[in-house]
């Protein structure tokens, strides 16, 4: 938690506690209607490719609501709460993979180093090329660097990575997706929970302890109070209503499944199960004041309503899963942790500056320094929506000013030149040194739904224009740039009888197409200084991309047996997922769900990795330019397009491509009461 926001969070917490006390303590006699229900669930997931157990989570969830008899100003008053606690035994049962014993020592086969680095390391122009390594392993627990093959840059104290970054408890970023067969850069990341190994843990952002991971809801944000809000309505004689909902809650905009075009008010916890859980379970409820003016039938509208929201709980980003977790969407958590470890402790990078080489970078010359979570005053979200029905068509217009829940890697922070022993702490254009920031965004959007009789189908449409979003961009000195973005979804639901499969019950066929367009996209074949590049350089995200989903769902045994197949495909990434499942409602209380989650397609994607940039002239000037005595070597220039899977090819591969080896078998048993 950001210390600056502690007092505000405390106020929010006090309000939640007061609501909880009211919910639990006020005598039932005053209540008109009290409901208590809940469930206990165990979800056990098993992953192929030698990983084994990825989830063994047991959850207890309670839902309470209490409504009061209307009196005075208000016509309706109620308090509603959802409380959730869980224990994920995967960190104990499969601790070799995800817990305190996870990770290993990692090795980089470095065949030898060119004379340039020998000279650089020794300062002696007559230094011969380094010989091939006999025991090339990462980080500073091995013999002197010349014998190991890792190149010690002059900025590395003592010539190699120190004992603060031991070669243990490590994994290689992206090794779960590819085998580095394209010669791209390789980074190691610490895999163990932050209470076991604090390397690479980013304060206030990705720093979960073993217990934070085991007991996800029992943390400093009191996430076991999943939702707790007060509902109140003032009714007017003309039928209009003024409604208030205040407290920790989910506010859902939009009309589509899986995609979040307008549904961006609450951040999302992708660490539960990537994008595959119901959003209802993975939205992170926030303290929000939600005010609605419900005008009902007015003028030409069958229904017209106005909504204003103000998020008063301190900012929370999406939970992407930290390095070493079973579910880290896009592998971003692993990458961030590796980069923060590099910043804090220095690190060895393989296939850098070219394939077959390994370089020891000193601390503060490469990596991610910190996450700058905005203070309350800088991160308040507020929005407005007009929503209604006219001529049978449901519609909404939405405006939201909010803080991005996705991180932006902003380069150009003050850093050191690894090729000099000095501590410069200055801006180096094109250097791979970042802070994680969360920019302010403005979203303007709309949605509609309607039924088309001739097609017997219901249509759902959403579109949103967002300004202020930031994307990696190797053409820019700070390695990012802004782009306005248009996103849209069209969904079609068609219940369809397929008599030979079931003559009494229609199957739901639900197709969605999602589009994303970066309006200020930059991608080219010359670098920022006009030098032709080896591959495309600029923004890794696609200018135009499309993802489609298709759901085929049936029901048997009076809806007690529900088989379905969910598929999704990312066209540009060339990867997708198919997930058949069967949901069996054994009784009113017991429910068993079995599912398989299979990915297919191209998997990892390649993109410019910025090795070809010249952030520290003249040391990082491309050898051909240096050999030719190019004047370009004297000044920073942007990437010349050496490319690999890592580190940012992941943004092209997308969640399906990066999960290509995350095929899983899943079993969930739930008891409701």
């Amino acid at each position: 938690m950001n210390p600056k926001s502690t007092s505000h969070f405390t106020a929010t917490l006090v309000a939640l506690v007061c609501l909880l006390a009211t919910l639990l303590v006020v005598p039932t006699a005053y209540a008109q209607d009290t409901e208590i229900r809940g469930f206990i669930e165990n979800a056990t997931f098993f992953r192929e490719h030698g990983v084994g157990l990825t989830k063994s989570r047991t959850t207890l969830q309670l839902e309470l609501s209490r409504a009061w008899q209307p009196s005075g100003l208000f016509s309706e008053v109620s308090i509603n709460g959802t409380f959730r606690g869980s224990y994920d035994a995967v960190y104990d049962l499969n601790d070799d993979e995800f817990g305190e014993n996870s990770g290993r020592s990692v090795c980089y086969p470095a065949p030898g180093n060119p004379a340039f680095f020998g000279i650089l390391a020794t300062g002696n122009p007559n230094t011969p090329p380094f010989p091939p390594s006999t025991n090339p392993c990462f980080a500073g627990i091995f013999p002197p660097p010349i014998a190991t093959g890792a190149i010690p840059l002059p900025g590395v104290p003592g010539g190699n990575i120190g004992s603060g970054n031991p070669n243990q408890g490590l994994g290689l970023v992206g090794e779960d997706v590819h085998q580095f067969e394209n010669g791209g850069v390789v980074l190691a990341y610490p895999t163990r929970p932050c209470s076991i190994d604090s390397r690479g843990c980013i304060d206030g952002y990705m720093d979960d302890s073993l217990n934070d991971l085991r007991y996800a809801e029992f943390n400093s944000r009191f996430d076991f109070i999943r939702e707790l809000y007060l509902d109140a309505t003032i009714a007017y004689d003309n039928g209009h209503e003024l409604g208030f909902r205040i407290g920790r809650q989910q506010v859902v905009w939009g009309r589509t499944d899986l995609f979040r075009v307008l549904d961006v008010i609450n951040p999302v916890d992708f660490s539960r199960h990537n994008i595959f859980d119901e959003l209802e379970d993975i939205r992170i409820p926030m303290g929000i004041l939600n005010v609605e003016w419900r005008a009902g039938a007015s003028g030409p509208f069958e229904d017209i309503n106005f909504q204003g929201i103000w998020k008063f709980e301190d900012f929370r980003p999406n939970n992407l899963g930290q390095g070493g977790e079973p579910y880290a969407i896009l592998g971003a958590g692993n990458f961030f942790r590796a980069m923060n470890n590099c910043w804090e402790n220095g690190c060895t990078v393989w296939n850098f500056p070219d394939s077959g080489l390994a370089v020891d970078f000193p601390a503060h010359s490469l990596g991610i320094r910190q996450a700058n979570k905005p203070d309350f005053n800088d991160s308040q979200d507020y929005g407005f929506r007009v929503e209604g029905v006219m001529s049978g068509i449901g519609f909404s217009f939405n405006v939201l000013r909010y803080t991005s829940q996705m991180p932006s890697l902003r380069g150009g922070i003050e850093s050191d030149n690894p090729f000099t022993p000095n501590i410069e702490s200055q801006f180096h254009p094109y250097s791979l040194t970042f802070d994680i920031d969360f920019p302010r965004l403005t979203l303007v959007g709309a949605s509609a739904d309607f039924y088309v009789e001739s097609l017997k189908s219901a249509f759902r449409v959403e579109v949103a224009h967002t300004s202020g979003e930031e994307f990696p961009n190797t053409l820019r000195e700070r390695l990012f740039s802004e782009s306005d973005v248009v996103r849209w979804v069209i969904g079609i639901d068609r219940p369809t009888f397929i008599p030979f499969l079931n003559k009494n019950r229609a199957f739901l066929l639900s197709l969605q197409v999602f589009g994303q367009h970066l309006l200020d996209h930059e991608l080219q074949r010359v670098n920022a200084q006009g030098v032709p590049t080896l591959s495309e350089v600029g923004m890794v995200d696609w200018k135009n991309n499309y993802i489609t989903t298709f759901l085929f769902q049936g029901n048997y045994m009076n809806d007690r047996l529900t088989p379905q197949i969910l598929t999704a495909y990312d066209f540009k990434a060339g990867s997708g997922v198919v997930s058949p499942s069967v949901d069996w409602k054994i009784s009113n209380s017991w429910r068993l769900t079995a599912a398989i989650n299979l990915k297919f397609g191209d998997g990892a994607q390649v993109f410019d990795d910025n090795r070809g940039a010249n952030p520290f002239p003249p040391f990082t000037c491309a050898p051909p330019l240096a050999a030719a005595g190019s004047p370009l070597c004297g000044a920073p220039f942007s990437s010349l397009g050496l490319a690999g899977f890592e580190p940012i090819g992941r943004f092209r591969a997308g969640p399906f491509g990066m999960g290509i080896n995350e095929d899983e078998y899943q079993l969930t048993l739930r008891y409701r009461f």
Binding site: R37, F39, S65, N80, T233, G239, E241, Q250, V252, G254, R255, D257, E278, L279, E280, D281, R283, E292, R294, G296, A297, S298, G299, P300, F301, E302, D303, N305, E387, G388, S391, G392, G394, D449, Y451, E453, K456, A458, F459, R460, D493, R494, P495, T496, F497, P499, K503, N504, R505, A506, N555, N558, D559, R560, K585, S587, N588, S589, R591, R672
Partner: protein, 438 residues
């Protein structure tokens, strides 16, 4: 005469010829339609009220049992207790509305009504030689007084049962609300809500209370004044936290896994113009009309605030209502869907002549095999909850859909309340789904 004027005249004449003129009616028609039992009691050979009809004596009562019930009694699935025929008068408001407006009503060329305001559209006795008799009867049902102007059903339990084993497989607990925006006769505003830009005729709103996996699921259906216009329907899905537009045209789908289609609600819940309708005669049939408070009731729901108890279940699979049946005048109406892909071949509906409610319904599949039986037990509103006293509504009180082919049934147990307390238009809005959703 100018050519344009002639064209208009021809169009007007053709139009008039395609519209069936309104039928006149007499006081005798009104009395016969609304008070058939004032000076007449239905009778059948060998039938005496109070007799119990079972496997042993059913053959002599074949003519007063609908085709499905006859089969069930013959198979020993149920015995029928009988009681004397009693009057189930509808409210005088509805009768007066009929007197006031029925004379203006006619059937348009497209099968919809002209000039309908309120009350029973066609109070005249149906005639076998009237090709529109079936349509007139179904319009009488469509704009009948089945739930009054406004009704709440809560609690409302739907229980999925295995007919062979009587095993309860699943139980859904609902709260349902019905509101007529137009054609109102008892509750203000009459005859219609003025502020109705959507031209909605009827709103139906339901929310699932249990089981947990469906709790907070809400459904909203808007039926429009224009019967040719397709309903709009929305579902609030609790686990998605949002309102989802339904493909309202697919009303032949099993609703939430029950044995009912959406099209089955209240007997028939589709557009009149989706079917062809044929009047197939008048019969005296045993139908589940009774005084709720005089029945041997179930012990549920427990701890009801009004001390209300549901009609109990009995018979094969516990699918049948534990009530008395009475011999009543009924009109048999045969509806056949126009859509060749419709799963139903025909509906044989027995309309209670006095209340114009669908008291029993037998559906056949496209092969012509008997598929489902759907009787709706009707309780006299003066012998029910206090709130219903004097409301003049034949209350929905118990229903069952027995899927004969699948040997499965869904029983529906009602606590019906004819009231406008909660049933204001805002309850029947999409926004209310969001407001009530959790």
């Amino acid at each position: 005469m100018k050519q344009g004027t002639l064209k208009i005249l021809i169009i007007c004449m053709v139009g008039l010829s395609q519209t069936v003129a309104a039928d006149s009616f007499t006081d005798e028609d009104i009395n016969q339609s609304f008070y058939p039992y004032n000076d007449w009691t239905p009778a059948a050979d060998g039938y005496t009220p109070g007799v119990v009809i079972d496997q042993n004596n059913v053959d002599q009562f074949q003519s007063i049992l609908d085709e499905a019930l006859l089969r069930f009694v013959k198979d020993g699935w149920v015995s029928i207790r009988t009681a004397p025929t009693t009057d189930f008068p509808l409210t005088e408001d509805y009768v007066n509305a009929t007197r006031q407006h029925a004379g203006e009503v006619s059937i348009a060329d497209n099968g919809t009504l002209n000039n309908f305001v309120a009350g029973r559209a066609f109070p005249q006795e149906p005639q076998a030689d009237d090709p529109l008799a079936g349509q007139k009867l179904v319009w009488n049902y469509q704009y009948g007084f089945n739930s009054g102007d406004s009704e709440t059903i809560y609690p409302f339990w739907w229980t999925f049962r295995n007919v062979k084993t009587a095993k309860v497989e699943r139980q859904l607990k609902f709260e349902w609300h019905f509101l007529n925006h137009n054609h109102r006769v008892t509750f203000d505003p009459k005859p219609a809500y003025v502020n109705n830009p959507g031209e909605i005729y009827r709103g139906i709103y339901g929310i699932v209370k249990e089981p947990f996996d469906l709790a907070n699921t809400q459904i909203l259906i808007h039926r429009y004044q224009d019967d040719t216009r397709r309903d709009n329907a929305w579902l609030y899905v609790g686990f998605q936290r949002r309102v989802r537009r339904l493909a309202a045209g697919q009303i032949t789908d099993a609703f939430l896994g029950s044995d009912l289609m959406i099209e089955d609600f209240e007997g028939y819940n589709g557009r009149v113009t989706d079917y062809t309708w044929e009047y197939a005669g008048t019969r005296n049939l045993l139908m589940p009309f009774y005084y709720h408070n005089d029945m041997e009731l179930a012990d549920v729901p427990a701890q009801d605030a009004d001390g209300y108890q549901f009609i109990d279940v009995e018979g094969q699979g516990n699918c049948f209502p534990k009530v008395t049946y009475q011999l009543r005048k009924s009109f048999t109406l045969v509806g056949k869907p126009k859509d060749p892909n419709h799963p139903i071949g025909k509906r044989v509906i027995n309309l209670d002549a006095q209340t114009m409610t669908m008291a029993s319904l037998v559906t056949y599949d496209r092969k012509g095999d008997m598929w489902k039986w759907f009787p709706i037990g009707k309780a006299h509103s003066d012998h029910h909850l206090a709130v219903n006293k004097g409301k003049g509504v034949a209350l929905d009180d118990y229903a069952v859909v027995i899927d004969i082919q699948a040997e499965h049934c869904t029983t529906l147990q009602f606590k019906s309340q004819v009231t406008d307390d909660a049933n204001q238009p805002k309850l029947f809005s999409v926004q209310n789904l969001r407001k009530s959703g959790r």
